[in-house]
């Protein structure tokens, strides 16, 4: 986790000001950054916030622009908060490649970035990893993002604990971001997410893939590869098998994306090598 520890400040700095708007009109009674269903009462001005990419242009205060040539949106007390939980897969398949752990580093950074963005929006932010990991209920207190960073630094990907049971416990969150490679209990997780989405939650599926998984280096001669979470899965991989592997993997990714979108979730593919802040921005803009 060396890179996350060193890169956290720059990551947090890069996502400062990024907003993660709700995809739906929030029914929440707690005032936040998201449009509320509440009607009738005049919106009480709360504050101005500089316009950022992703904000609804209709919310730009043009009078302020005329006066000050500042582009800002007007926040009113009627905006609701969206409790958000980031669910991070910490299974053994995330510890890849073994030497650099690029998948885990990217996943952890994206999780931290999303938490920071949501926290910046004033939304209660929580964090969860499967047992023996941690569960932090959504909160808005000041040190929450730092706490999440500490938990990330203390977590090492291992084991094969399923995500679906943990997802089932996050019903209090209105928005759930699942950061995973979906190589574990993908079907059960999808089913649980579908249920939550049907109940009005916003589900985000951030699929983390390593470049080495997308495009393995052709071995000079036949190599035996094995699933770190299931050693019974052993395959012979040589030059002739790589195109078949890539084709199968691509088809699976495509079907996964279709399934998650069909469940009402936002699906985003994050590949190692991509800057985590770019992934964050891509996710929150979806």
């Amino acid at each position: 986790m060396g890179r996350l520890a060193g890169g956290a400040p720059s990551l947090l700095d890069a996502v400062r000001g990024v907003h993660w708007p709700a995809r739906r009109i929030s029914g929440g009674a707690i005032h936040g950054a998201h449009p509320s269903k509440r009607a009738g009462a005049s919106p009480e001005f709360s504050e101005y916030r500089p316009y950022q990419q992703g904000d609804d242009p209709a919310r730009i205060d043009w009078k302020l622009f005329g006066r000050t040539e500042r582009v800002a949106i007007r926040l009113a007390r009627d905006d609701s908060r969206l409790p958000t939980t980031v669910l991070l897969d910490a299974s053994a398949s995330m510890a890849y490649p073994p030497a650099s752990l690029d998948k885990w580093e990217l996943a952890a950074a994206v999780a931290l970035g999303l938490a920071a963005v949501a926290h910046g929006d004033g939304d209660p932010i929580g964090f969860a990893t499967p047992p023996p990991g941690s569960v932090v209920p959504p909160r808005t207190r000041r040190g929450t993002v730092g706490h999440i960073l500490q938990l990330l630094l203390q977590t090492a990907p291992a084991g094969r604990a399923p995500l679906a049971p943990l997802l089932a416990t996050l019903r209090s969150s209105r928005r759930i971001a699942i950061v995973s490679d979906f190589l574990g209990d993908a079907d059960e997780l999808l089913e649980q997410a579908r249920e939550l989405a049907a109940g009005g939650r916003e589900i985000y599926a951030i699929h983390v893939v390593a470049r080495e998984e997308l495009d393995p280096t052709p071995p000079p001669r036949q190599t035996v590869v094995t699933d770190p979470e299931d050693p019974s899965i052993r395959r012979a991989l040589d030059k002739s098998a790589i195109p078949l592997y890539q084709d199968a993997f691509a088809r699976w990714r495509e079907s996964l994306a279709v399934a998650w979108r069909g469940a009402g979730a936002v699906y985003a593919l994050a590949t190692t090598g991509e800057a985590p802040e770019r992934v964050v921005r891509r996710v929150v803009r979806s």
Binding site: A92, S93, M94, Y96, P98, K103, D181, L183, A210, E213, P216, R221, Q222, T223, V224, V225, T226, D227, P228, E229, I233, R234, R235, A236, L237, A241, L244, Y245, A248, F249, W252
Partner: protein, 429 residues
Amino acid sequence: MTFLAPAFLLAGLLAAGIVLALHFIVPHEPRPAPLPTARFAPDQPVRAQTRALRPRDLGLLAMRVGLLLAVGAALAGPQVSLRRPRRTLARILLVDRSRAVAQAGEAADSARARYAAGDAVVLFDSGATTVRDQALDSLAALAARPSVPGRLSAALIAALQAASRLRETADSFELTIISPLVTEELDEATDSVRALWPGAVRLVRIAATEESPAPPAVGFDGRSDDPLRIALPPQSVAGAPGVWVRIVRGALDREDSAWARAAARVLVHWPPPAAAEPRDSSQEIIGAVIAGDVVVVAPLMRTTILAAGAGGGARVVARWVDGEPAAIDKPWGAGCIRTVAVGVPERGDLVLEPRFARFVAALVGPCGGRPALRPVEPARLVAPAGAASPRRVARRLIASPEPTTSPWATGLLLVALALAAAEPLVRRR
């Protein structure tokens, strides 16, 4: 370094070679690599491949090979000789000092002329004594033992033992016999023992003692009408000069003993039956008695039981037909005392018969029996296999000395044990 059982070393080398080949030749399944998306690879059979050695494999291979070699070498019984480099030739000199040697000085001179430091000298008569240190001093003090016959068989056995002890000191060995080589020095075992020496033998013939053709003058101490007188050679008074055989029919006294001890003389104590100790209160009549090649078949009385005894150098001169000794010699100073338990009949004409006279002549011979000093044709001894046998015998043909426990074997076994304990640890790593 030599090995007592080199077959074990060869077996260890062979096993090590097999392990070496297995490391390189036997195909192994490739070591698996982690890939979380392995399930998407086609399920095709894994082809075993010959693996290239990695640096840590070399260590494991060296450990296994070393273990097998250490065990093989330990079981092979390594013998490390820390002595000085081997000589080209070492001699074993068999020097005769028996009664067959006319001049002991001649034997000593012949031996000194051939002796070199590190050679073995075996002095032999009826027995053999190996001299390695101060051999020249022993040769200088060499004196023939006129009453003791030589036995070449004992000398040859001593020579074989000496060669075995000298095996690591020379590349080849030569056996030299310095002797008159007469008939009485050979026995039934001589040919068999000689066959154990894998090569020809050098013979340095020295002068033999002259065999006296005339029977010795015999002193007789007994009755004037003793029937034994009839069978004896010309007799003299017991104490006359030139007499070296004395027959005493009565009890021996101190003067008799002193007479025998003083020179190479034979004191024959031949008590008649009346004076003999009864055996179980009765004396037996035995039908025949043998002395050398002379057999007398007659009802003769065994006057007493003689015990040849262990030690003391007693020698049986005559035997009854039932195997019991009839006459025995016991060394006595320079001479010997011969006790005869054959009763001479007072009546009858047995004492007149020539065969009895020959029997008596055998019993009045010199100590150790009448010498058979006829020279032996040396061919059967020098080169039994003919001219093909080399005189110089290679070291490898000499029997190894008795094996002793080698500290090297213990050390090698400990090394093997340590390697065996470490191998699993390295393998797991």
